[in-house]
Structure formats: structure tokens, C-alpha cells
Amino acid sequence: MGPVLAGVAQLLALMAALALVYVPLGTYMARVYSSDRHWRVERWIYKGIGANPDAEMRWAAYLRGVLAFSAAGVLFLYLLQRLQGSLPGSLGFSSIEPAQAFNTAASFVTNTNWQSYSGEQAMGHVVQTSGLAVQNFVSAAVGMAVAVALVRGFARSRTGELGNFWADLVRGTVRVLVPVAAVAAVVLVACGALQNFSGIHEVGQFMGGSQAWNGGAVASQEAIKELGTNGGGYFNANSAHPFENPTPFTNLFEIFLILVIPLSLTRTFGVMVGSVKQGYAILATMVTIWAGFTALMMWTEFAHHGPALQAAGGAMEGKEARFGVGASSIFAVSTTLTSTGAVDSFHSSFTGLGGGITMLGMMLGEIAPGGVGSGLYGMLIMAIIAVFIAGLMVGRTPEYLGKKIGSREIKLAACYILITPALVLVFTSASLALPTPPHSMLNSGAHGFSEVLYAFTSASNNNGSAFAGLNANTDWFNTTTGLAMLLGRFLPMIFVLALAGSLAGQRPVPATAGTLRTEKPLFSGLLVGAILIVTGLTYFPALALGPLAEGLA
């Protein structure tokens, strides 16, 4: 079997595994968010919070819960890092500087996991396990909660009530993320991922002398890092590090974890709105884009254009021998089309076009299939845009899932899709216009521009991967990417929840012969087109200056 064929076989095996769990996991999650029973441990947690999990919230109250919980998360994580130097169980590592601590706190709370630090030399056990890893869980659970609130907006009528934020947050964590992550973590350890609380580990070497590394709870963090589409590595090399991703099997398993919740949530959506076919249409849209991007990526990486890669005879710079080009391509596309940002190979050393594909993947807005929760709500916003475009063509008021898409709804959806491009383009231009920020670039010319564009695309879309040549640990980049992450996460959530409230308040419109059939392949095709056109028009000039200029040179 040649490498290309093996790459395709891995892709097919991955799709088969995802298909196998789609119905059970998606249906289970729908039950989790619809059940009126509470587990005992959940009751304890509600008591601790002092919240009544059965109280229904309108959109503004739901949003206040999201913001209060996230603000507490930023503050707690910031203080934990600032105090690391005095905390026990921190290997004697010193405290993190303020700008970097702010950046990291914003990064993990927003499910971005952009890292301007190197894990193995900066973060001790306590910050990693009780700070960073916890946000890996709860930021994912917040994303799922907001998505579920939007789905309830479609499913409910003549009420402004969207559910209870605390209940959704706790259930997502306790019933979905923790159990799946625990099983996945044990699988990773069985294959060689680290899991201990020992100190700095020093081992002898073959040629004499010794090498030292930082042990820790790696597998348990790795599992939720992928499952929650977080992406913040325990080590600097992220999932390229053999202790995070030891074998070709763990590599495919980690890709599976990245994709499984975002894809299965379309089933949850279908069940909750009472038509699983609507879920299939959204799923088909996501899979079409993802599979298309993966095919393109494999093609360009196997073709290895670019002088250095031509001289080497293959695109192996920044890639691990055990994964090779095929598996690395699948990982790169999956991590950038979800909001994960974990890497098993370094995107900066991909071919010019390959790097462009990772960037374009993020620019789509992390919706194919996107981050846990955020992918579904982002895609539903795009579905509203697509329905609106179709409505304009035939000249009737658009509807989606029995709800009228009126001027209020379309304004909210339009605001949503304008936020991230505005953040990306404004911050990138500002960084290039100012005298000092460009000093952070490693490469020059088109690739140097791409490093900065990639950084703000990644931060604003809450991805977190990097063209890691850029030295992002400066006050400018720590502060601006931190702001981009916070604004790129919470402003869209405001519009999503406002939209959910407005939809839930409507009375349903009965479907007629003139209603666009949004469960049909035609609609999936229209949706793919709308996504590509909106993104293409927005970002083409920027892409032309960076990856296209490099790839076509």
C-alpha cells in the first residue's frame, strides 16, 4: 500500500467510526439536554452554586449566566497563573507575567487555547490540571449550552424561555464530557501517553548523559483537549509530541475525538427540533466541506511544492515519521475546520497552499463541523443566511424550521457573521502598520504576512493553532490576540442568544408548498455555496497577499 492509498484508507476508517457513533451519541445528548431528572452529583453542584436548575431563563438571563461564569473563569485562571510561584505542586515554576497570564486566561476560557507560552517549561501540575484542563471542559460545555439554547429557540414557540444555563453547563460537563474524556484518556495511556504527577523526570541516554522532561497529567488533558475542541497542548509541540500522541493509532483516535461531538450535535439538533432529516442536511453540509478540504490538503501536501520541500523530496518538515503526510493532512484540516487548533504537524512548514487551506478553514467561521456547540450555532446562523438568500431569489419571506426569518432575525445573523472578519482584518492591518509588531515574524515576505494573518484568524475564530514562527509572546500580541479571542467568542454569543429568544417567542408558521425544503440535498448545496461565497468575498484580498502569493510563486 502506498502512502496516498494509506491516507485515503485512514480517512475512510475515520468516517466509518464517526458514522457508527453518530446516532447513539447524538440521541444521548438530546436526552441529556431534555431530561427533567437530575443526577445526585448534579444536585450537589446546584446546591453549591445556589441555583435552581429547573428555573427557565429568557435569553438575557441565559446570556448573563454565560458571561458571569466566563468572567469568573478568566479571573480565576489569571490569578492561578500569577500565583503559580507560591502554589505547591507547581514544580517550583515561577509565576506567569501579567500580559501572558491575561492572554492565556482569555485563551482557555474562550475555547481557543492559543498558547504564547511553552507548556513544559512554564506551567506546573496545578495550573495545568486544575486551571487549564478545567477550562478545557467548561468552555466546551458553555459552547454546547449556547448551541442547545439556540436549538430550543427553534423548537419552542410563543415563549421567550430557553432553558437553564446552569443546568445545561453542568449536564454537558458531567454527563457528556467527563465520562467520554475519562475513557479516551485511558486509551491514550494504554498507547503510551504520560499520566503521572511526578516531578521533573531525568533519564539516562544511550550515549551517556541524561535528558530531562516535565511529567504530568498529560493523557487526561489530551483527551479533553481534543474532545472539547480546545487544542492547548501540555507540551510546546502539542500533539506532535510523542507523549501526547504516541502512535499512528492515537493520531487517528485524536482526530476522531475532535470531530465526534461537533458532528453528532447535528443529530441532537435534529431530534430536538423534531426532524432528524434537518440534522442530516446540516451534517451533509459539514461533511462536504470537511471532506473537500481534506482531499485538497492531501493533494497539495503529497505534491510538496515549494523549493525546500522539493529539495527534500517530500513535505516532511514539521511532520512526524510515524504519521507521515497523509495522517498529518487529515489532522491539519480537522483541527482548523473545528475550533480545535491542536496540531500533530506544523502548519507553517506546510506547502504554501496547504497553509492557505488551514487558514481558509478557520475563516469559514469554524462551522464545518466547528467547535463543540459553536460549530452548530455558527452553521445554523449560516443556514439562516442561506434561507434568506433563497427567499430573496423567489421574493417571499424566508422561513427556517417553521420560524419566520424577519428583519430582526436577519440583522442579528448579519451582525454575527461580521464580527470575526472585522476583528481579523483590523487587528492584522494594525499589526502590520505599526513599527514594532512586525519584528515578531520569523519568515519574511508573503509568509511573514501569513504568520500575522494566521494569528488573528486563529484567535478571533477561537481556533488557537498558529504559524508558530511568529513570536507571539510580546505585550502587543498577548494583548491584541487576548482581546480578539474574548470579542470573537462572546459578541457572537450575544447575537446567537438574542436570536434564540426572538425565535422562541414566535408562533410557528405552517409549511406550505412554497416553503424551502431545508432537509433536502438542494439546501445543503445552497448552504455550502453561501458559506464559501461569504467567506471568499470577505477574505480573498488578505489571502491573495499571503498564502496565494506564496503558493503560486
Binding site: 446552569w166 453547563l169 514539521g318 515519521a321 510563486a553
Partner: protein
């Protein structure tokens, strides 16, 4: 006004309490349970997959090492010890710059782009060195025989593996330097070559540390 400040404070308090409760679940109970299971069932793997040779720990099977001669006076970079199989270049690997009470390995890639002059030069130099080092009387390595992994740095800088093709072009040199027959060393490489997992996952590879340990055993026997 006062009322809304109070409300905000109360809400923030609820957020903080929720975070603390969930930290108990996801930041204390979860990692401890996973660590307990890991240490109980997979003790060696959970602690770094160390390899022992002749009663001494010689590294981790998952972490690449360098097989270099000791630094001579005036040398900036050590030269490879050509008696042993060599791993991939590791130009992205570094040492720690903070918390320097420890001397830690800092994993990483070069992040140089495909059109980088620096990377092009490194690849060309590495290719020339691979050809020079591995060509012995009666066996000349052709440029087309040098696989890409031999001249590029990995993502982690700690890649423990090389491709079987890179191991194969080192066979004649290793045999000559150690006074072994080419056939015996070639058989060693073949024995230590791992195919794709389940026939299609990842790429075929050879673990350099395990190969060198086996080579050392072979020399001890002969």
C-alpha cells in the same frame, strides 16, 4: 444603580461557585481517577515508556535522542557518531528559557516555510551530509535514495523514528564502522521495522533507540 451592582456581584458569585464546583469534578476527581487507573494498569507507559539495557535506563522508546561524538574543543555543534544509526534532524528542539533551575527539553518545530532560503540551505546541507556519511567504499548513496525524513526536522524535534528507507541507506556505513557484515545489519533493520499499524495507519518506521540497542547486543555477541 446600586441595585444592578448588587445583582452583578451576586451573579458573578454564582459563576465563581459554579467554577469551583466544576473544578472539583473536572480538575481534581477526573485527573486523579484517570491517574489511578493509568498507574494501576499501565504503569510503565504512564511514566514515560523507559527502556532498560544491561540494567541501565537508556531513555524512553518514545523520545528521540542524539547519537553524537563528544564535543571537541572549538566545535559549536557535535559531529554524529557514525558507528550508530542516526535519527532525524531536530533543528526545532531547544532548551528551556524560563525556570532555568532545570535543564529541560523544549519540544518544537523549525516553523520555517516551504519557500524559506534558510530551510532550503539546511535541507541541501543535510542531504549532502547524508550522502557523504553513508557512502562507503563499494556503496555510494545516490541523492534520489535519500528519503525526506532524513533531511527535515520533525514537528516535536523529538521524533523517535526514521523511515525504513533512511535506516536502509545507513546499513553499509554502520556495518563498516563496527566490523559487522552488511547482511547481519540489514537483517537487524528488517527485524526492527514496524509496518503501518493494522496495515493502514501512519507510515512504516524504525525506532532508532531500539535499533541501536539491538546493534549493541549484536556487537556484544560477536
Amino acid at each position: 444603580m446600586n441595585h444592578s451592582v448588587m445583582n452583578t456581584a451576586r451573579l458573578f458569585g454564582a459563576g465563581l461557585r459554579a467554577l469551583l464546583m466544576l473544578t472539583l469534578v473536572a480538575g481534581v476527581a477526573y485527573p486523579l481517577v484517570v491517574t489511578g487507573i493509568a498507574q494501576g494498569l499501565f504503569h510503565d507507559k504512564a511514566n514515560g515508556s523507559e527502556i532498560t539495557a544491561n540494567g541501565k535506563v537508556v531513555g524512553s522508546s518514545l523520545i528521540g535522542q542524539s547519537y553524537d561524538l563528544p564535543l571537541k574543543k572549538g566545535e559549536r555543534t557535535p559531529r554524529p557518531d557514525l558507528r550508530w544509526f542516526q535519527g532525524r534532524p531536530a533543528n526545532g528542539l531547544g532548551g528551556n528559557s524560563v525556570n532555568t533551575q532545570y535543564k529541560l527539553l523544549l519540544s518544537g518545530a523549525t516553523n520555517l516555510s516551504a519557500d524559506s532560503e534558510v530551510l532550503l540551505k539546511r535541507v541541501q546541507d543535510a542531504k549532502a551530509a547524508v550522502i557523504r556519511d553513508n557512502s562507503v567504499p563499494g556503496y555510494t548513496v545516490k541523492p534520489s535514495q535519500v528519503p525526506p525524513d532524513a533531511v527535515t526536522s520533525s514537528g516535536s524535534g523529538l521524533d523517535p523514528d526514521i523511515s525504513p528507507r533512511y535506516a536502509e541507506i545507513q546499513v553499509h556505513r554502520v556495518a563498516a564502522r563496527n566490523g559487522l557484515s552488511v547482511a547481519r545489519v540489514a537483517k537487524l533493520v528488517k527485524d526492527k521495522t514496524e509496518g503501518r499499524v493494522a496495515g493502514f495507519l501512519g507510515e512504516p518506521r524504525v525506532n532508532v533507540l531500539e535499533l541501536n540497542i539491538a546493534l549493541k547486543d549484536l556487537m556484544a555477541k560477536s
